[in-house]
Amino acid sequence: MTTYHTLAAENLTLGYGDRVVVTSLDLAVPPGAITVVVGANACGKSTLLRSLSRLLAPREGRVVLDGKEVHRTPAKKLARTLGLLPQSPVAPEGITVLDLVSRGRHPHQGVFSRWTAADDAAVAAALEATRTTDLADRAVDELSGGQRQRVWIAMALAQQTDLLLLDEPTTFLDASHQIEVLDLLTDLNRDRGTTIVMVLHDLNLAARYADHLIALAGRRLHASGTPAEVLTEENVRTVFGLDSRVIEDPVSGRPLVLPIGRHHVRTAPAAT
């Protein structure tokens, strides 16, 4: 069934123009797991994701997939193993769900090659997995935010990659749709063994859904490991500059971060 791929960054330095965003970063993505990248705003999370998927060439170091350097792999070949859903993809005006999801088949098609039964099967599977089958003939611009995000994920699924990178897939969604999207990604991971790497803003959702957590701070990898290992009060302070208490989430048993601001704090805080 699924082949597990090893994706790793070695001594990676990334930047735009003369601005360096990430310095000498080493990381290994655990195969078959859900990895979540967290960090303060503008700490290079998206930049890291773009570089892992060949969109940004590293200044130094390299990204290696199955022992081969990603930036030397032919674009289409790579796109059959590794998919990326960027933060704000653009849907052409009036395009239908079926057409948009079908564009995920691009890396499997030649310049003039015909559409095949395998393409139909992949698109159907993607629609089903994201429960968007009933939306197939609707225009993408008339869908709700949650439906639209599911459609974009369906497009990435139609690409049929064993590795899927997502940049903040839950932004702009309300609470129930955030959970819906993250549950869907967890299903994919458990049912098909898809390796997932995503950037999330919400620490508590990250703690709940990640098997492996990566925290970036000060252009470097600050901590990585299980959510319990990474989400300590000390790490939250260094990474986000935020005081907090970390307790056990009564629902999931994972860590739950309770931020401590200047207001609404009991004057005699419970003993730590």
Partner: protein, 350 residues
């Protein structure tokens, strides 16, 4: 690779059915457009001041001598009709390419100054340097590429934003058009008809010498664009998404720009910047086909049809003869106003 997760057979069938339905509808529309172009072409050859029946036209095309028809059809109407189809197809194809790539209907080469660049260069080459034939085409294509590069460079700031590029293009276009007007005003021996060619586009007095370079450019450059149709569809989803789907975005963009600018330049060097054809063809094709599929071929056919019909109407529908560009200009201007009003209402900056 993922084994395709077992999709329910009825879902697979629904997907396949939906796709086939779209594909056959698309094929029907494209074939209808092609038939209309063929019919328009035939009518243009037969009808005019004098009517020649189809058998006379066919005999002329096969090289037989038919008194009267050999000159009128063979020397006047045939090159003119071939240029109408070839230039119209070039404008439509190049126009929709730019509109798709920049995700904006205003971003067509005749709005953002590329056609004016080619036109100004052709006018300067002919009037000021007394050049002719292939030199004019070369001059036009080099200038059009230079204008494209200039607009791109001026619009570049952390990547190219469509709106900035369009506004800069409109400004450049105005400057180039005034250059054309200046050059023509200095050329005393030029008549109004010839001046109109470089201001709005005209097919008057078309000779085979003008037509052949356009056909050659189309034969070479159209396949280049068509081979990038899927890349263009992916690039509509944003550069990052396209790259994630395995498109070499920069490489594709350069290939597409050079090919589209080439088509515009060759067609403009022969027929002038036939107003608004590049601008109108894509949106008309999109209206006919609906969203989703590639618009390259349909827009080319719409362009060919527009030029054929507008040239025919310009010659015979009114008391005076108008060059083709005057007719397409009258058609295109209201649409431009409509687009600007619509985007303004939607809260867009342009």
């Amino acid at each position: 690779m993922n084994a395709p997760a077992a999709a329910r057979p009825d879902v697979v069938q629904a997907v396949a059915r939906g796709r086939r339905r779209r594909a056959s509808r698309r094929l029907l529309i494209v074939l209808t457009l092609a038939a209309l172009v063929a019919a328009g072409f035939a009518v243009t050859l037969m009808a005019g001041r004098t009517f020649y029946p189809p058998e006379d036209v066919v005999r002329v095309i096969l090289g037989e001598r038919v008194p009267g028809a050999t000159f009128t059809v063979g020397r006047l109407r045939l090159p003119r009709a071939v240029l109408a189809v070839a230039a119209g197809f070039s404008f439509g194809l190049a126009g929709v390419t730019f509109q798709t790539m920049l995700r904006n209907p205003l971003a067509s080469p005749d709005i953002i100054g590329i056609s004016s660049g080619a036109s100004a260069a052709a006018a300067v080459a002919i009037v000021s340097f007394s050049l002719g034939g292939p030199e004019v085409s070369v001059f036009a294509i080099v200038s059009a590429l230079a204008v494209a590069m200039l607009i791109y460079a001026l619009a570049f700031r952390d990547g190219v934003a469509g709106t900035r590029l369009i506004l800069i293009g409109i400004g450049i276009s105005a400057m180039l058009e005034s250059l054309t007007a200046y050059v023509l005003s200095r050329a005393a021996e030029w008549d109004l008809q010839e001046a109109m060619r470089w201001l709005t586009g005209s097919l008057n007095g078309t000779t085979w010498q003008q037509v052949l370079p356009v056909l050659g450019a189309l034969a070479v450059l159209a396949p280049v664009l068509l081979s990038r149709a899927r890349d263009l569809s992916a690039m509509q989803l944003g550069d990052d998404t396209a790259a994630a789907l395995g498109v070499r975005v920069e490489r594709s963009r350069v290939a597409v720009i050079v090919a589209a600018v080439g088509l515009i330049a060759f067609a403009t060097a022969a027929a002038g910047p036939i107003a608004f054809v590049a601008f109108l063809s894509g949106p008309i094709a999109a209206r006919l086909l609906g969203p989703g599929g590639s618009l390259l071929v349909p827009a080319g056919l719409v362009g060919a049809l527009l030029v054929l019909a507008a040239d025919f109407a310009g010659q015979f529908a009114f008391g005076t003869r108008f060059p083709v560009g005057v007719i397409t200009g009258v058609l295109g201007a209201p649409y431009l106003v409509y687009l600007i009003v619509r985007t303004h209402r939607a809260g867009g900056s342009i």
